[in-house]
């Protein structure tokens, strides 16, 4: 181990985000706690990434996110094999690879952390897609545990009063459901606190992302993909607030001392859709080699994008709307508007879109968003065809050629 280990490159060391270590610790502890829930007598709920986790925290239930697990499976390049297994189980290869990997994982405790802890209940919010509904039905049959569905009507052109009333009603039903499964009452004072912490966490996360508006950007979308895990999994706790406070301070320090994510940032790009988990390193190096930094993305900002609808002093009353009007649950034209706002805010020179065959609500409509952006912002755009977890759908040389050609256009412009 000693002889040929190279001395760390000081340039690279300088650029490393120091908080990463702490983040890894938090996530390790979180998964340890979740996996030992049986011993500690705590209940475990599986919940969708866009689902309202706050009531679970109030009820002392450990929330577990199969989608976050899916991302870990993808990042450890175990997606292809698990997806293949799900195909043997009869699931079509065209289905979402988060769902496929998770369904294949459950019976064998596969994946990088030996599977997720068995759920005591399932909470499915369809604000991100119809896939989660079907996926949670599969798991409810498999684990034979109660399933709560929070139905958040889609906002093609606006959120109707009828929908507002319906979702608000379901928030109460959700709490009734949890009270029933846990056999104890909900503490509404605590609910108010957790709601505040959730809003605080979301604001801080937005502030962290906002630091990338600085030139050069102190962090990239690839960093955001990593640090996202907390706002997804532990939203509503003080751990998130403390951690993002530190991370924000670190980012501000980096801006002050001119430390950038990419050494010679010349081009600033916006990323659309989920990360390609098994290729984040390759992609980030690829773009960095062109002096390009992905300064922001539409994905990680989805966990704070609907803050405008939430009143922290009436969290329960307003979360219905906040959870219903997230980025994926709105019309394509409104999505295009959001993309353009981000282009302006981060002063992006180009748009990179991941056409993700796993995720129809995210990907269908991208061609129109691309066209609208080209017409209204007149910046180059690139479309990459891939899949977030199933590495069998990644054509490296083709994608490399496309990125190079796109960067040539940018450089010429």
């Amino acid at each position: 181990m000693t002889g040929n280990s190279q001395a760390p490159d000081p340039e690279k060391e300088k650029r490393k985000i120091k908080s990463v270590k702490k983040m890894k610790e938090i996530m390790t502890n979180y998964y340890m706690e979740a996996k030992t829930a049986e011993q500690t007598g705590k209940k475990v709920a599986w919940i969708t990434s866009g689902g309202p986790v706050e009531p679970l925290i109030v009820m002392d239930i450990i929330p577990v996110y199969p989608e976050n697990h899916g991302a870990m499976i993808g990042a450890s390049k175990m997606g292809g094999a698990l997806c293949e297994k799900s195909e043997e189980m009869g699931y079509s290869r065209d289905l979402c690879s988060y769902a496929r990997a998770d369904i294949a994982c459950a019976p064998v405790n596969g994946g990088p952390i030996g599977g997720l802890p068995r759920p005591d209940m399932l909470v499915c919010c369809n604000n991100i897609c119809g896939t989660v509904l079907k996926w949670y039905e599969v798991q409810a049959r498999y684990f034979n545990v109660p399933l709560f569905i929070l139905d958040t009507p889609f906002s093609h052109t606006g959120f109707s009063d009828e929908a507002r009333k319906y979702v608000r009603k379901q928030v109460d039903e959700y709490i009734d459901f949890l009270e029933m499964v846990c056999g104890k009452k909900c503490d509404y004072d605590r609910m108010a606190e957790v709601g505040k912490l959730s809003v605080q966490g979301q604001r801080l996360w937005q502030a962290v992302l906002d630091t990338a508006a600085h030139k050069p950007a102190p962090m990239s979308a690839f960093d955001a993909f990593f640090h996202l895990a907390l706002i997804v999994t532990l939203r509503g706790t003080s751990v998130v607030v403390d951690y993002y406070t530190e991370l924000l301070a670190e980012m501000k320090e980096r801006t002050a001392s001119g430390i950038s994510a990419v050494p010679n940032e010349k081009y600033r790009l916006l990323w659309d859709n989920l990360p390609i988990w098994y290729r984040t390193k390759w992609l980030s190096e690829k773009f960095a080699a062109h002096d390009a930094c992905l300064v922001a993305d539409t994905y990680t900002s989805a966990w704070c994008g609907s803050l405008k609808y939430i009143n922290e002093n009436d969290f329960l009353g307003t979360m219905a709307e906040g959870y219903s009007r997230i980025y994926l649950n709105i019309g394509v034209d409104e999505m295009a508007e959001t993309v353009m706002e981000m282009i302006d805010k981060y002063d992006a020179d180009g748009l990179v879109m991941h056409s993700n065959r796993s995720c129809k609500p995210y990907s269908l409509g991208q061609y129109d968003i691309q066209r609208i952006v080209q017409e209204k912002r007149k910046i180059p755009t690139l479309m990459i065809e891939a899949d977030m977890v199933d590495e069998r759908s990644f054509a490296e040389s083709q994608i490399e050629t496309r990125i190079d050609a796109f960067m040539e256009v940018l450089k010429a412009g």
């Binding site: 189980m89 009869g90 699931y91 079509s92 065209d94 289905l95 979402c96 769902a99 369809n126 897609c129 119809g130 896939t131 509904l133 079907k134 996926w135 039905e137 599969v138 409810a140 049959r141 399933l147 569905i149 139905d151 009507p153 889609f154 093609h156 052109t157 109707s160 009828e162 929908a163 009333k165 319906y166 009603k169 379901q170 039903e173 019309g331 394509v332 034209d333 056409s355 065959r357 129809k360 609500p361 990907s363 269908l364 409509g365 991208q366 061609y367 129109d368 065809e385």
Partner: protein, 373 residues
């Protein structure tokens, strides 16, 4: 036989038919997707509800939809972009799957086919609050239709449309049942044409023709081929009469289905006492659900087994479009339930509007051969 050729003619050329109706009667035509569209309300507004199925081409859709969208969505968008659907006065998109959800946006941004209504129905159907929301959505839909068509719908209009639909549906049921008892009476393809035509035909005219056809069945001669082995179809949109003929040619007879272009379309009566909107909502909630909607964890499986038992089917053929998420997700559990009951099944995923016939036929023959007589 004359009656049948009318249904076939309309099922094969629905666009020409709608244009003709529009020209002759001045009726407004409202295009719609999916069997969750509350057609009664469109009919009550004096317009013709017209279910949109793409006609096969999809090249114009390439600029808007990735290759991993189903052929139904791609085909419909192609026809809209090509101008073939210009005769429509408006379009209705009920919320169902993720693909239709995005199709609605893309359509609204790119296509000019009159007014555009999204009926954002609940996704779960089995709770009290979702039932209330369903009725709320229908009331909103009624207002949207009134605005779109510039009419006012009275309670009586609505009631008489509901009664008309009840009669149409019960007539279709009777024809289905008659055929189930004696499959040789009507060919599978003929039955499919009847159902297809029912979704686009002027509903008053339809009711007359259906009633007459039903009457002609009793004591009538066999129109179909001698009955083959009984099978049930399960799965998604099937706009292909050929599938039925292929199954017949392979030695099978379709005696039941759970298609939204089949029995799911005409199942369930609407009560006319009490609040009519509540009654309409009730039918759409209680009828067997589409896999894009939630109503219990085993409901669809139990329903398919029930149809198999009632119809005496010896096996089930699953048929759905490639890239159809809701059906693909349900398939493994449905198959497992059928296995446990000892009911054989096979799956055929259709790549395009037209399946590669040879392959389908070979698979069908092999499957049917295996089934008990």
């Amino acid at each position: 036989m004359n009656k049948l050729s009318l249904f076939h003619e309309i099922a094969e050329n629905p666009y020409d038919y709608a244009k003709k109706v529009k020209k002759e009667s001045g009726k407004k035509i409202v295009g719609y997707f999916c069997s969750y569209t509350p057609e009664e309300i469109i009919d009550a507004a004096g317009a013709l509800p017209f279910r949109i199925f793409g006609r096969g081409g999809d090249s114009l859709a390439d600029a808007h939809l990735q290759a991993y969208s189903c052929s139904l969505v791609r085909g419909a968008l192609h026809d809209a972009l090509s101008g073939d659907l210009d005769f429509l006065d408006g379009v209705v998109f009920p919320h169902t799957c993720d693909s239709i959800q995005r199709l609605s946006d893309i359509w609204r941004i790119n296509v000019k086919t009159g007014f555009h209504i999204d009926a954002v129905l609940p996704v779960k159907l089995d709770t009290k609050s979702s039932g209330e929301y369903m009725a709320d959505v229908l009331r909103k839909f009624l207002r949207d239709i009134e605005n779109g068509l510039g009419v006012v719908i009275s309670e009586d209009d609505l009631k008489s449309s509901v009664m008309k639909y009840n009669r149409i549906r019960s007539c279709l049921w009777k024809i289905y049942r008659t055929r189930r008892e004696n499959p040789a009476l009507i060919g599978s393809g003929d039955l499919h044409a009847i159902v297809r035509a029912s979704m686009v035909m002027d509903r008053d005219h339809l009711l007359e023709e259906l009633t007459a056809f039903d009457g002609s069945l009793h004591g009538g001669k066999a129109a179909g081929k001698p009955a083959g082995k009984r099978v049930m179809l399960a799965g998604g949109v099937c706009s292909l009469p050929d599938i039925f003929s292929i199954i017949e040619d392979s030695g099978g007879t379709v005696v039941g289905d759970d298609f939204c272009t089949g029995s799911r379309y005409f199942e369930g009566e609407i009560g006319i006492n009490g609040d009519i909107m509540e009654s309409i909502a009730k039918r759409y909630r209680e009828r067997i659900n589409c896999p894009a909607k939630h109503s219990g964890l085993l409901t669809r499986g139990e329903y398919i087994i029930k149809i198999v038992r009632e119809s005496g089917a010896k096996g089930v053929i699953f048929l759905f479009l490639k890239f159809c998420d809701p059906h693909s997700f349900d398939y493994p559990y449905l198959k497992a339930m059928l296995n446990r009951e000892g009911i054989p099944s096979m799956l055929f995923e259709m790549e395009e509007q037209l399946p590669s016939e040879g392959q389908f036929k070979t698979r069908c023959e092999a499957f049917l051969e295996m089934l008990q007589a």
